[in-house]
Symmetry: C2
Subunit: 367 residues, 2 copies
């Protein structure tokens, strides 16, 4: 399985793996794909610097990339304290009541809340880009559409291509007009922020819109070799996979996620929900007692981005610490139904390649 | 493109085409696919008898099938008048007010309402099966899951296989356990009644669940040769296409649908909505001023099946007569974005086959 993307990024297989874990990202790169480290959780640039230095030492010289969360237009930034004033008391009360109902304990007295995820703040995302460009990264992906023009310029000056997610063909056209080098077509079935058009329809539309100018990666619903073959049939140059790595053995190195993994292993493809409760924009999450509480008739409407994430960030921390598989706040795609055992990244990649080959044999025999 | 399905149904291409138009169904069969005539609109068995006799005379001896809408369990049936008593006055008032707001005129004084679509009534659906089995039909598909056991028996006694739609792998397992011969995996992106799992994820799940016992057809998001190749890569034995035929030249023969076609030709893949307003169960429809009115904050919750269809059936008739492309009540899938010109069925099929071949060539070159 070789496409032009392989030459462009110097990878063996056109499989791009997004993950918040540097252990997983490095393993994906070592397995011949392009590991892409999600930076949004690094509030402190020094921590990202350390993670990327670790990647440099643990990727056997293979290429890797990073993913930031950066709006195209620079928002008016306040400190978290400023923004907090816009959160209605009703919403805070609902979160507290729900956590109590679900048996999620408060944080220990000696630990104050971590301050939430700040990576969506423009200044923090810029620090991620600055840090990343000091390392041999081969791709900067932005999870929120086109990055600002000067960031694209900054990356280009370092010879690093920029990718952006698109949920419609029109998004994709705008990204390319702004100078984006790679478009990730993110279908409805994907985990995290996602639109309403499913991959089967979205992907060929995006390819027809921009595929002659830039490579298109398929995101959403990809977790097997058959799905990679389908994505390439639809015109993608490669795949962007996120959810599939959440149940790899490497994922729990450095991240306490075993309750989350238990929940993911048990879930079927029907056990996700697309909701604004994670960030304020529609994102697909694992359906758990936490998401169900927000779907109840007495629940308030989620707040707009970035207020919703500020509202729930301490709740996410408490939920994570409480380690209850029934109460999890986790973005994941519908492919979660196929995640049924914990396996090393290398084994996942080997299976993808083998099934892809069998699929092409099967298709070839139809002629 | 030949799969086992071709031998099973005696067709040249594994393309099953669902349509409410006998002209389209016959043209699909003549083009080497399996045309499947939707029966739900035939309130009178004699009309269906006439349509199938016409098909017998116009399919050049090629195979065709029918599609009925039949719940697995026999509901308590009343006449439409009985059921009407359960429709709240608030709902009736909303429909009247909305039609007035949208400029949809009442029916002419000399025409009373047609009585709505009765095909979802068990007795009427059974009459469809009885009529169909007197013709050389090669498939009876049921748009509402498994048909009742005795209907499966009745079809089997005539040597006619039965197909059922499945929105989850569990649906598919139940269908096969009840004796269904062909499973149609209907993804989220499909038009009409549909679930929440997108084709990219649903299809391989259904194939893994039942594919060794029965052929699986891919429905939802199929409108090009690339999408057929993707569906076969995912393990389908063939495709089930519905929306793609709505803009064929043959579709307007015998059905006044030009305003609907205009609306479909103009729509993008983002211009559909999944809603309960058509029948009471979630169904994907073209997004128009009619569906938007039901999404407004002052709109009532749609009623359960079958009450919702009784509530809106006269409205559908009025909307159809008013022929305003901005006010249309039409089930269609996200593939509507690819329907941009009116073409004969034979040309649509020829393009599907040619693009499928080019796609396989492209995939082959990746090895």
């Amino acid at each position: 399985m070789r496409t032009e993307l392989c030459d462009r990024f110097g990878v063996e297989h056109p499989i791009v793996g997004f993950t918040p874990s540097e252990h997983v990202a490095a393993a994906i790169s070592r397995a011949g794909g392009l590991g892409v480290l999600g930076c949004v959780r690094y509030n402190d640039a020094a921590d990202l610097e350390a993670a990327l230095s670790w990647m440099d030492a643990n990727t056997d010289g293979r290429p890797y990339g990073v993913d930031v969360v950066m709006p195209s237009t620079v928002p008016t930034e306040g400190t978290q304290l400023d923004l907090s004033e816009f959160i209605p008391a009703e919403h805070r009360a609902f979160v507290e009541r729900t956590l109590a109902d679900l048996g999620v304990p408060p944080l220990p007295d000696d630990e104050r809340a971590g301050g939430g995820v700040l990576g969506w703040l423009h200044s923090v995302a810029r620090s991620h880009v600055d840090v990343a460009l000091k390392h041999p990264v081969r791709l900067i992906a932005n999870a929120l559409g086109s990055p600002p023009p000067d960031v694209i310029e900054q990356a280009r000056a370092c010879g690093v291509p920029v990718a952006a997610l698109a949920g419609t063909a029109e998004h994709a056209r705008r990204h390319v007009a702004k100078g984006v080098d790679v478009v990730v077509a993110q279908g409805y079935e994907a985990g995290g922020h996602t639109g309403e058009i499913a991959s089967m329809v979205l992907l060929p539309e995006v390819v027809d819109a921009v595929g002659e100018r830039v490579p298109v990666l398929a995101a959403g619903g990809i977790g097997s070799g058959r799905q990679i073959a389908a994505a390439l049939a639809l015109g993608a140059q490669g795949v962007w996979m996120g959810s599939a790595w959440l149940t790899t053995a490497e994922y729990t190195q450095g991240l306490a996620a075993s309750a989350t993994q238990q929940a993911l292993l048990a879930a079927t493809s029907a056990d996700t929900v697309r909701s604004r409760i994670y960030s304020g924009k529609p994102a697909r999450l694992l359906k758990t007692r936490w998401t169900q509480a927000w779907a109840a008739p007495d629940a308030p409407e989620p707040l707009p981005m970035p207020l919703q994430n500020i509202l729930v960030s301490e709740a996410h921390e408490r939920i994570q610490r409480s380690a209850d598989p029934e109460v999890v706040a986790m973005p994941v795609g519908q492919i979660v139904g196929r995640l049924n055992e914990v396996r090393p990244v290398a084994e996942v990649v080997a299976d993808l390649l083998a099934e892809f080959d069998r699929t092409l044999d099967r298709l070839h025999a139809l002629r």
